[in-house]
Amino acid sequence: MQYENVRTTCIYCGCGCAINLQVLDGEIVGVFPDPQHPISRGSLCIKGWNVASFVRHPDRLATPLVRQGEGFREASWDEALQLVAERMGAIYAASGPQSIGFLASAKCTNEENYLLQKLARTIVRTNNIDHCARL
């Protein structure tokens, strides 16, 4: 039996509100605002209050998928990543670094954006990296 609150940051706009995720025995059971946070000050909007509802949604992707005809088949991580590395490598070899593009993400963390641009710039040697900042 374990109940705690994990403090994190809301994902539903740029305000940067604090979110306490109530975790009971390894599952999220609710959300509390944080009264001591300088921006959200103990409040949230309806999106913030419900920020964790999709985390265990049945539609969540739980395994890598590889295209098969019109649909997908499940694949192992090794197979999927190998396939990406291999095919991207082939395109790189045939058409050069500028034929590959990367979309970073305004929804992912700073560290993840850093790593993706580092991958694009150091391994593929392209500056073709952008995200939907403008959208």
Binding site: Y3, N5, N20, P33, P35, G42, S43, L44, C45
Partner: protein, 272 residues
């Protein structure tokens, strides 16, 4: 006071599944279930969180377990109303009460800043109770306001509502699985601050016999709507009309669910 509470919690923990209280860590303070062996130096009393709701959830998830809770006066009152509505089981709860300071009482317009342990199977209060603070002056001023002034006041306030449902979510007395506020029959879906304030009037009615004046709804409101003025008025009415004070007496049944024969009404002349 904190030390005293920690000592008491440490003593009780071996016979409990855990104690619900606030834990302060480097990243912040939030509700936590302290279990035997946990670092009680992290147990703190501020800020405010709806700990009774956490107790309710834990008791429902673990129907055999006994828990403790570190509660201030309003938390204890909330637990009383929850017990009457089968949201918590007082037999499986050890109440570690503590008193609020006079300043805190004044800030909350709190009439009863110490937990009342009468009727609780197992309870203990730490701290010296201070006198109740005077009520919100806005409630008294209200009597002086004309209907037009009242209307203007609330129209301006309700126009700010961003429909976060925070007042409901934070309220220890709002536990219905299906909520009237989410029923498009009563409250327009997807509209921000519709002209007729169904949301707030329906909620005020529902709070009438339940609101224990913990004031969490007002603290949580991003639009700073003085919701408790309305709830204070409703609480006053339920006292005057039906002789009921929410949170005061664990043995008193909620008035709106009783018949007249159960003696909950002062006299029907007064009502009509």
């Amino acid at each position: 006071m904190r030390e005293q509470i920690c000592k008491l919690v440490a003593e009780k923990l071996p016979e409990l599944a855990g104690v619900v209280a606030l834990r302060q860590t480097a990243v912040g303070t939030a509700p936590y279930l302290f279990r035997e062996g946990d670092d009680l130096s992290q147990l703190v009393l501020e800020p405010r969180y709806p700990l009774p709701s956490v107790v309710s959830m834990l008791q429902k998830r673990y129907p055999e377990a006994r828990f403790g809770v570190v509660a201030r006066g309003c938390d204890a009152r909330a637990l009383v109303e929850m017990a009457k509505r089968n949201q918590i089981d007082p037999e499986r709860l050890y109440l570690v009460g503590f008193t609020c300071s006079a300043e805190q009482a004044a800030e909350c317009y709190c009439a009863a800043p110490a937990p009342d342990t009468a009727g609780w199977p197992q309870a203990m209060v730490v701290g010296v109770p201070v006198a109740g603070a005077p009520p919100n002056p806005l409630v008294a001023q209200y009597e002086e306001m004309s209907l037009a002034e009242r209307r203007a006041f609330w129209q301006q306030q309700f126009a700010k509502c961003i429909k976060c449902y925070g007042c409901r979510n934070i309220c220890p007395e709002c536990f219905c699985e299906a909520c009237a506020l989410e029923d498009p029959l009563w409250v327009e879906a997807g509209m921000l601050a519709p002209p007729f304030p169904m949301f707030h009037l329906v909620r005020a009615m529902h709070m009438a016999s339940r609101c224990v004046a913990c004031r969490q709804c007002e603290l949580v409101c991003p639009a700073h709507i003085p919701l408790t003025v309305l709830y204070d008025l409703m609480r006053r009415d339920i006292g005057e009309l039906l002789g009921y004070e929410p949170g005061a007496d664990i043995a008193a049944a909620p008035p709106l669910s009783l018949t007249l024969a159960d003696g909950m009404v002062h006299g029907q002349d007064q009502l009509l």
